[in-house]
Symmetry: C2
Subunit: 548 residues, 2 copies
């Protein structure tokens, strides 16, 4: 089988890579020795036909097995570097779209799992085929999600994490990563504004679970006996969040046995911000009906409109009524790193808990979600079962570093290293300039849309990186803005999106919201994006819109 190699690594780079491994793996440091090896080393790069994984480390620990292992790893890396290069090349597509049935056909038996092993040549080919059909989420013209981009430091950090392959369970098996988690969480709490970064926290598998931790802690504070006796002994607990908040708040009400009907949606104003007066009114109604309000979640950057709830005003209401104050800034938390834009989260230091996902605005690879709490120890009291067969109390080191018993997971992936490494490489100023730059692009996009015909904003003055708008095709522009037009407009974005995906040139999300017909939600979070990419998207929407 002729295996087409990526083009980025020239023969010389390959030789160098091979030489690096060979010399390092033999533990030889002398330059002369290395050069001798480089001179005599003749790599055969298409050598994996009929070679199976059992011939790699850890099974074959011979010199040859070690060499083969490093060659195999370098082949995979070559494929990955090629993908990275293409993802950053604007002349390549963002995706090569196929409907599920046709993608199954295209991949054919490549997808099957059978009795017999495949050779490593096939495994390399599998990697290439997989990447061929991946959506290039790092492409400068991928605008579809809140999480976009591919940061090289985060990525290589994740590679190291996979190689270290340990569990954030105890200090015993993750000493360095445990210390890093403490350092990064402390830093995040300092940035939130809690004194000396004091408090508690943990990395959770995504913002939805981070929010779950917050509701759990709040429930424990008001009704600790629920842990042992269940929700049947508690009063009817009521929680509040805006109608624009992330759906995980409501889902957590379902999971925790609070019930979605006891999660009250607070009205929002024209900008999509929670109305504190409505919160107060709903709290009173809940109390009058015998319920016990205990939790409110303010959103710092809503999913669709990117709106920030007025945290200070919500805190005033919350604390007056004794509620736990949570801020879900999974999306907007990164703004805290910008001197110019941290005002969006004014008052956040008053919160009891904060969800903040560095895998969104800060550009860490998936996943990296922090839940930060003001009160030290509540996580452990709430979640600990003191399983002494897992968390031995008679260890020879300071077991306060064992974080496992405050998590709701047992095994827990190391999500901190990549973020720590990024922070080393960027510094605070690197994150700040990244966020300021994205905001500049958001303002640029807004200006462009205002200058062109046929674009209408969902909210007139977006304050963040979400810019939501309708594209109104020429033949609809004369129509009165009534429900009849809405019916037609509702179909425009899905149609343009479908054509866009078939072409594969760019990707942007759309959705309805309440009674509003489908609109585009442009998200600017990709550090690779430049103004030209934004122009490209607008042009593409216009072009496709006229084909309707």
């Amino acid at each position: 089988m002729s295996y087409e190699l990526g083009t980025l690594m020239h023969q010389r780079d390959r030789k160098r890579a091979a030489y690096l491994f060979r010399t390092k793996s033999l533990g030889k440091n002398s330059i002369q020795e290395n050069e001798e090896l480089l001179g005599s080393f003749e790599p055969d790069w298409s050598k994996f036909e009929n070679v199976f994984m059992e011939e790699l480390l850890p099974k074959d620990i011979s010199k040859q097995g070690q060499k083969r292992t490093s060659q195999f790893i370098l082949e995979v890396v070559d494929i990955l570097i090629d993908y990275i290069r293409k993802s950053n090349d604007r002349s390549t597509k963002v995706l090569d779209f196929h409907h599920p049935h046709s993608l199954k056909e295209a991949l054919g038996h490549c997808l099957n799992l059978d009795e017999d092993p495949r050779d490593l040549e096939q495994i390399l080919s599998d990697c290439k085929e997989t990447l061929k059909y991946c959506v290039k989420t790092g492409h400068p013209r991928f605008f579809n999600q809140l999480s976009t981009g591919l940061d090289m430091i985060a990525m290589t950090g994740e590679w190291l994490t996979a190689t270290a392959n340990t569990n954030m369970f105890t200090y015993e098996i993750a000493p360095v990563f445990t210390l890093m988690e403490e350092i990064v969480l402390t830093k995040m709490r300092e940035i939130i504004g809690w004194q000396e970064g004091k408090g508690d926290g943990i990395f959770a598998p995504g913002g939805a679970i981070a929010n779950l931790y917050a509701v759990l802690a709040a429930r424990y504070r008001i009704c600790p006996e629920v842990k042992e006796e269940g929700m049947r002994v508690s009063p009817r607990l009521i929680m509040f969040t805006s109608e624009h908040s992330h759906f995980s708040i409501k889902r957590n009400a379902a999971i925790l046995g609070i019930g979605t009907n006891n999660c009250i949606a607070i009205k929002t104003d024209a900008q999509g911000k929670m109305i504190p007066e409505d919160l107060e009114k709903q709290i009173e109604i809940a109390k009058a009906s015998g319920g016990v309000p205990f939790f409110v979640s303010a959103t710092g950057g809503t999913t669709v409109l990117g709106t920030f709830d007025p945290i200070n005003e919500i805190c005033d209401v919350a604390f007056k009524h004794g509620l736990w104050m949570h801020v879900d800034c999974a999306w907007g938390g990164g703004a805290l790193l910008s001197k110019q834009y941290k005002k969006l989260l004014n008052g956040i230091e008053r919160a009891d808990s904060v969800t903040w996902n560095p895998h969104k605005l800060m550009g860490a690879t998936l996943q990296c979600s922090g839940i930060l709490l003001k009160e030290k120890g509540i996580l452990e009291n709430c979640n600990s079962l003191r399983a002494n067969y897992l968390f031995q109390q008679d260890k020879h080191y300071d077991i306060s570093y064992d974080t496992g018993d405050k998590a709701i997971q047992c095994g827990r992936h190391n999500d901190v290293f990549k973020l720590w490494l990024m922070w080393r490489a960027k510094g605070d100023i690197g994150f700040e300039s990244q966020i300021d730059r994205l905001m500049d692009l958001s303002i640029y996009l807004q200006g462009q849309l205002r200058e062109r015909e046929g674009f209408e904003f969902v909210i007139e003055e977006p304050e963040f990186l979400n810019v939501s708008f309708w594209y109104v095709p020429k033949n609809m522009r004369h129509m009165p803005k009534d429900s009849q037009r809405d019916v037609l407009l509702d179909k425009v974005a899905p149609k343009i999106k479908a054509m866009m995906m078939e072409r594969g040139t760019t990707m942007v999300g759309y959705q309805p919201l309440g009674d509003l017909p489908n609109f585009f939600r442009m998200v600017i979070s990709n550090p690779a994006t430049i103004p030209g990419d934004i122009d490209f998207l607008i042009d593409e929407i216009e072009r496709l819109g006229e084909e309707l």
Copy 2:
């Protein structure tokens, strides 16, 4: 340039770094321009001193930026390959232990996060320093956890996952991985024995959360109104699990609002197996007290003793009383792949749900946990909130492939690719021979312990890969086996473990269990391990034990 920690940033470098961030953020890409402005700066691209991440992709897309990116990646890979080689070298230590305070000292300001960025030379040094203090979980003599070993295919699969950096949210952004998840989960259900692999399932962030899904689904089946109304409207739901089961079952009772007091621990026999008669008795007691039994979890490979509950007998009791039958074989699930050992899980096809962690016995990197359910659709009914702003119903492709709304996460890490790739590379027969081989080693270890003086088994005939035993030092062997001896024996394993960690030569877990004093739990799950490594561990325990 030495890799000395933290001494790299001179005033000039900082200035340059800050400058680069600002110019790049203005979209100026020309390195020549930058250099003109900086005057005397002369970069040496063969090294990474004074080179910052802004000079890599995606910021610098020039040929030089691409080359630099690939060089940087190869440098990281070189460090990782070196770590892999050392992890497989028996002459290296498993860990270089430091107490938390002294590790902080050793790493020094290398751990700090500051205003300013570090150059890539420092980042490479950070990676090396981090790995230096990692516990080598892939080392052939690391026996401390259920998850050990480092599989090259799983690891490179995880690297690809990090590079593809997408979210298992919708088919739209994870088309290939969504298909792979369907294929792998179907395969796992076939192996469980469900007809044609039908049913439902999802990958969860660890076994504890997989178990949470099971209890959620069971609660939904018996009391669907809990989703909207909360646990206050439900009868007092009671769940059952053996006293040796994983603590997450009980913790899930706390989380879900059932209450830990309503999670009843069923007695176990001398081998640690749940006693079906006690289950039936406890069900009757619960009913008599007005409770509603709804869920039982049988364990397939307990954490400490590696015991398998009698699934068929438990099913008989469970179904007689209308309970949801769950099998938590997070640890033992891999045994299903062995014709010889799948009998340990006889009856599993009768279960309603199964937790099975390929990151344990099957050797996938962390994390990879499946929750499999017999009933198609229950996950979605239970967890879906039909948030149409996230799961648009008018997409142009078959949206039954969008898995996001049945998850309790929103963003979800791609845990399937590495497992799929391993399965391609090993085939069923590869997994089977791996598991059979580990069982051979377990039998070997048991034989060795029987032949030597001073070793006593916790259970006489371990049936799986956990071998639990006491080491009784010479000066205690004459003592009668009474509580006085137990008090002394309780201190032996922690002391030996502490010395073992200080020496760093091998690592094995210990814990108490019920009234039993601390004992060693040897787990054989590392494909790198050979009989000599087992001899080494026993010798080491004897050697250290005599130093007490």
